[in-house]
């Protein structure tokens, strides 16, 4: 007997902490039966119809009232998981939730593994693979934009796009196969130039999706930003200004910011993780040495480095060189701080600001967004790749199309072109989880008059 499809699982569906209500989800064939054992309401859940809400009380084994609750009933297949399931809304108190979960466990449910509700939804064909992965993203989204992105994917935006591309490839492939299997027939075949154009068009679309990966990743995962600068240029002041709250130690003694301080801020819906680094310079102080190592690591791992210079010390070319050796220079944003002290020097910076007055901060934000997203025109409404598995499949498809183009250029016969076309079709099919071999023939029979 298969363990996971047979048993009934439960878990708290809302985050831990204090709030107004907390929801406990139960899913599996015994959901109603088990819930009925601990719940007293007007009618039994087992007898109630789907999509109804029931008020009542939960009692423990000694008939002591645990909480007043509302229970929603979902009957299979009309539930998130596709199974019978109930959602219990309780007053939010960790003790109450824990008590109810304990009662459910005692009465025959099992604690759900992470992602198990979604896995069941996928296995019950409620979601395709892309959608299932998107659910995980919706749950872990921390900003509005990333939530919207994930929502769109859940609605099948990427699946739709990939399907579209896959169908164009099947079309192209049909032309190739037509010539191979029906050469004796009186049908017109595609010429290599047309085929090349079709493949190029599809490749461009895949390219767009591949390029959207950066955007998608930024939206979904956020951007790691390392703040770097010589002592006293005002790194922590800038950080503080951004956070509008004081956590880093701000002082005039060089090197006091020994630990890396991380703060997360959301700018226009994009999550920036700001790392305030200690100096990158060599130090004799053992504690500082450790700090230097950590700073270097922070720079290496960063998506974006903000190199802070100040009006007093001018542009620090040595620091810029050092950072450039750690990270691609187009990921460096070089800024000038303390312009409230007066503008000196003609060096050119990406942004000039004052962490004291706030002057220039807006344009710094704009630049940060630009660097993070590139100059692309994506919106949350575009099909966007934000998952590394999808990215990888698209990359493989593109690679196969490269081989297709190569074969076309070398005027290879159709069966060689077909090898890699099929590979590309399968690569795309892997994203949405469909693999079929009849597609091409079906396409041929609907489009062409075959038959001697």
């Amino acid at each position: 007997m298969n363990k996971f499809t047979e048993d009934t699982i439960t878990a708290i569906a809302t985050p831990s902490g204090v709030g107004a209500i907390s929801v406990i989800r139960v899913s599996g064939p015994l959901s109603f039966e088990i819930a009925d054992k601990i719940f007293k309401g007007k009618i039994r859940l087992t007898d109630s119809s789907t999509h109804t809400i029931h008020y009542g009380q939960i009692f423990d084994e000694n008939d002591v009232l645990v909480d007043d609750v509302l229970i929603s009933v979902f009957r299979n297949p009309h539930s998130y998981t596709g199974e019978d399931s109930v959602e219990i809304s309780t007053h939010c108190n960790p003790l109450i939730s824990k008590k109810i979960i304990d009662l459910l466990l005692k009465n025959g449910t099992r604690l759900a593994e992470p992602g198990e509700f979604t896995k069941r939804a996928y296995l019950n064909d409620k979601l395709d693979l892309v959608q299932a992965e998107a659910v995980a993203d919706v749950i872990s989204s921390r900003t509005d934009a990333s939530l919207r992105g994930a929502r769109n994917q859940l609605n099948g935006l990427l699946s739709k796009k990939v399907d579209e591309l896959r169908n164009s490839l099947i079309n192209a492939s049909s032309f190739v196969e037509l010539e191979l299997d029906f050469a004796e027939e009186d049908v017109e075949f595609i010429n290599l130039g047309d085929l090349m154009n079709r493949v190029r068009t599809i490749e461009n679309e895949i390219d767009l999706l591949l390029k959207s990966y950066n955007f998608g990743k930024v939206i979904k995962e956020g951007v790691n930003v390392a703040l770097v600068g010589k002592p006293n240029v005002g790194k922590s002041s800038l950080l503080n200004y951004i956070l509008k709250e004081s956590r880093a130690i701000v002082s005039h003694i060089p090197g006091t910011t020994r630990d890396i301080i991380r703060e997360d801020v959301s700018i226009d819906g994009i999550m920036f993780r700001l790392y305030d680094t200690a100096g990158i310079r060599i130090s004799e102080d053992i504690i500082e040495k450790e700090g230097v190592l950590r700073s270097r690591k922070a720079v290496k791992d960063a998506d974006l480095v903000i190199l802070i210079n100040d009006v007093d010390q001018g542009k620090s070319e040595d620091l810029l060189n050092e950072i450039s050796s750690l990270i691609n220079s187009n990921r460096i944003l070089s800024i000038l701080n303390k312009i409230d002290l007066g503008m000196t020097g003609l060096d050119d910076y990406d942004v000039k600001i004052s962490a004291l007055t706030g002057e220039g901060i807006e344009s710094l934000f704009r630049k940060m967004k630009e660097k993070a997203l590139g100059t692309s025109n994506y919106t949350e409404k575009s099909a966007v790749v934000s998952n590394s598995r999808h990215f990888d499949c698209l990359r493989k498809a593109k690679e196969s199309l490269g081989k297709v183009k190569n074969s076309i250029e070398n005027k290879m016969s159709g069966e060689f072109i077909a090898v890699d076309l099929r590979k590309a079709i399968d690569d795309l099919g892997e994203i949405v989880g469909i693999v079929t071999s009849e597609d091409i023939l079906n396409n041929i029979f609907t489009k062409f008059c075959i038959g001697k």
Partner: protein, 624 residues
Amino acid sequence: MINYDIVVVGGGHAGIEASTSAAGMGCNVTLITMDRYATGRMSCNPAVGGTAKGHLVREIDALGGKMGIIADRTGIQFRMLNKSKGPAVWSPRCQSDRKLYSEEAYRVVGNTLNLTIIEDSVIDILVENNRVSGVLTSKGIELKCRAVILSSGTFLNGLMHTGLKSTSGGRFGEKPSTGITESLINLGFESGRLKTGTPPRLSKNSINWEVVEVQPGDEDPQPFSHRTGKDFPFLPQVPCHITSTNEAVHKILEKGFKDSPLFTGRIKGVGPRYCPSIEDKIVRFAEKKQHQLFLEPEGLDSDLIYLNGFSSSLPGDIQLEAIHKIKGLENAEMIRPGYAVEYDFFPPHQVDLTLETKLIQGLYFAGQINGTSGYEEAAAQGIVAGINAALKIQGKPEFVLKRSEAYIGVLIDDLVNKSTEEPYRMFTSRAEHRLILRQDNADRRLMKYGYEFGLIGKDLFEESQKRDRLISESINLFESLKLHARDINPLLKTRGLNGIDSTESISKLCKRPELSLNDLLKVNGFGDNEIVQELLSDTISMNQVEIELKYEGYLKRQQEIILRMERNEEVIIPLTLNYFNLNGLSTEGREKLNRVKPRSIGQASRISGVTPSDISILLVYLKN
């Protein structure tokens, strides 16, 4: 009461291969046919082979089957199709003398040791404890046997249509076979109805040959069989001709639509989309103003011409009126109108990969009964059924060809896993490993099996093995054997190609499309090299070495894909698995898995109606 090991029902292309292979393996076989002189009779096209079908014939031959030899001996035009494409899709095809083909087939079957022919028809399959025990014939004879192979073609409750007139029968002028379908349904089998059609036959002398296009055979014809000797071709060679329909033809045909059994719903069976009737073509592809037609000779002495492309079940007078509007056929005499034939088949998910039915042990289905169309598809199943029936009786392990091994493997795997709703025909695009499954290397892929079963002689097998060795040795040699610039550059120059700097391996040079292996081996003699000498005297091996060198990159990729796929083939699903206990399966997936009972995850994933999430569930289950 007479005892046999195996009874084969039907003497068509499947029956010939099934009976001769099982007899060749030492079984005592009887072939029951309604008319012994109808053995191997071609119901439709007087031709063997063609795209992908030619591959099947070569494979059947490598296993020790008869189709290739019979076709070689009776062919009157041989062509290698797709010559302008790469070697993987080259397909041999021949035009056959219909009468001689049948005579030769009868001679081959009649001369087979351990094989008896009985003229009768089977009306009941006898079964004891879900195991075949014999057959009952229309003459009331009960034949006891250990296995029955049903290869009854289009004869099961065959019904022929021309216009609104229907006649019982499986082929023009021949009676249908009744009783078997009912017997099988009583045993629990599920049956279906298919349709196929055939075009009119015209009188040769009534055609104006001056105005139609000539389609000659190859100048250097190649035989199908690995066993055919040097005096090939045996018969005089003749051309085919090409003409086409036009709008006037279409207009006349449309007049007959009201009396079309196809459009009026008289025909219930599903026809093949790749071989539609002319009326179907006019309706479905209304924008096409003309359709190509082939005038194929039915034989050297025959007055009949087969009008390929004009399959029809419209009333005979409409067919004739339309034919008279075709260029060259203005005065054509129609000897026999085209007709459609409907027949019973048994959706092939009911057989296993050995072609034994899942329901009744010892009962095998081969050919059109499994929903296929085509002589070659039928013959391929015939030989697999014959071999497996013999192996089972002899207590030996079964014979199943993999998709990566043969078109025959693809054919049977498709039938079992996808079942079929229209007559199934082989196409090269069905074979995902097409580059490796070439007609030229059929012997290297399959002759070992034919030899193992005793259907291929020792000499022939050793010759093939020797060739196999020579090919691998040559490929190794050419990886390392280098040509010097001074030797090769003159040739490159005469071909207008860039020269090389110092040295380059033969294998690398051979990848240039403009250079053949022969060119390279002739440069500055390899006089003392035995392998090169041997290769130069063996064009078959030479061609294969050249293919392997030229397309090395593609072949390697294909091989990698095969390896990846085979991992799934190795995840075995127990046949006893109860799919009704796996709750997460989709309803359709569960039903399809249950009826096919796949052997591996690889096979399960090819079953139509089984979704990727069904496969995930199976995988999770198998891991637990």
